[in-house]
Chain length 187, copies 2
DNA sequence: TAATATATTGAACATACATTCAATGAACAA
DNA sequence: TTGTTCATTGAATGTATGTTCAATATATTA
């Protein structure tokens, strides 16, 4: 099984390299050659591990879709506290586990920008939006969040996070914000 | 002068079409052919008006850099009030004058993502960041904004706005948020 | 060791798309 | 009218880059 394991290792190395480059430079500006060079391996060998560049992206999006399913808030925790800590976690990953961080950014980019249709559909299906809407509604009932259309508030919240994280991913100058600041948008 | 004026008109039509497409689909996924078709005009004719696709982008970035220079806050207006109204204005353009709105989004994208180097440099030089930092510092002195690194707060604020507006530009479902929500990040 | 399967390479190929160009039509000046 | 300039077109060209492939090395199995 050493053989198969090694192949898996190699695949993961390629995936992680591609993820980093896709997020830093964008999908279209990341050439197969760039990924190969960064791994490193020959260009041709890339196609021994992945059918195509799009396939590579799809694999990443699949990982991203599978991952963070449980964004639901336990009943006994106040929604604002929960969102703050969730955000704190994600932001702290930026340095410890850049993988999680990059994945968050990539998923957002795929949903929004000109990337292969298939990938976009999958990315859209896996979206933290739905559980957050009910979290916000509960927060409004309990008086910790202000009034307003919960759907718009949810989108506003997550897309703000998206914008900040995209900057963090590309600009080393940008320091992580205090999660409380962002949650304050809802209060 | 009718001749020259007509040429200017046509150039503007191309610029506005390109701006919209660049923002909606991304620079790399917008083919010269797409722009030509949308204007509409033949593909070849595009190069009678602009040297290249990159030149077209540069022209847009130049317009974006020239425009919104005066983001400074008058001394007698509280910074939070000012930022709220500034944001309100920009957001309301989304429907009335999509041009301004798209431009805001484009400039952010150029700064961050894989676009021609020259364009990025120019876009970076024209940045609303600097005046906002001093606005925030003043707000902190006057006690309307919370403590924290003013530079990080500034970036956090504008990149959040960027994220929200990018979504608004591509997703018709997304409604404009209340500017107060976003300024609340600073309070 | 021999035989088979897998990993790896670099160059060749195919395609998409920005760009060019020769030709045509329309506006304008004399 | 006649000549000149600009506008316009669609097909041809060149290039960048994703993908394929024949050849070689390395590992695995018998």
């Amino acid at each position: 099984m050493t053989r198969k394991e090694q192949k898996e290792e190699r695949r993961k190395a390629i995936l992680m390299t591609a993820l980093k480059l896709f997020v830093e430079r964008g999908y279209h500006d990341t050439k197969i050659t760039d990924i190969a060079e960064a791994v490193p391996m020959s260009t041709g060998l890339m196609f021994h591990y992945f059918e195509s560049k799009e396939d590579l992206l799809m694999e990443l999006v699949r990982m991203g879709s599978a991952g963070p399913g449980s964004v639901a808030c336990p009943e006994d925790v106040p929604p604002d506290v929960y969102l703050t800590s969730l955000l704190g976690q994600i932001l702290s990953y930026a340095k410890e586990q850049p993988w999680v961080f990059y994945m968050f950014v990539l998923m957002g980019q795929v949903r929004r920008t000109g990337m292969p249709e298939e990938a976009r559909k999958l990315a859209e299906s896996a979206d933290a939006l739905v559980p957050t809407v009910s979290m916000i509604k509960r927060g409004q009932k309990e008086g910790v969040f202000h009034k307003g259309d919960a759907d718009t508030m949810t989108r506003c919240f997550w897309y703000a996070v998206q914008g900040i994280m995209e900057q963090m991913a590309t600009d080393p100058e940008m320091k992580a914000p205090d999660p409380e600041w962002i949650v304050a948008m809802l209060k």
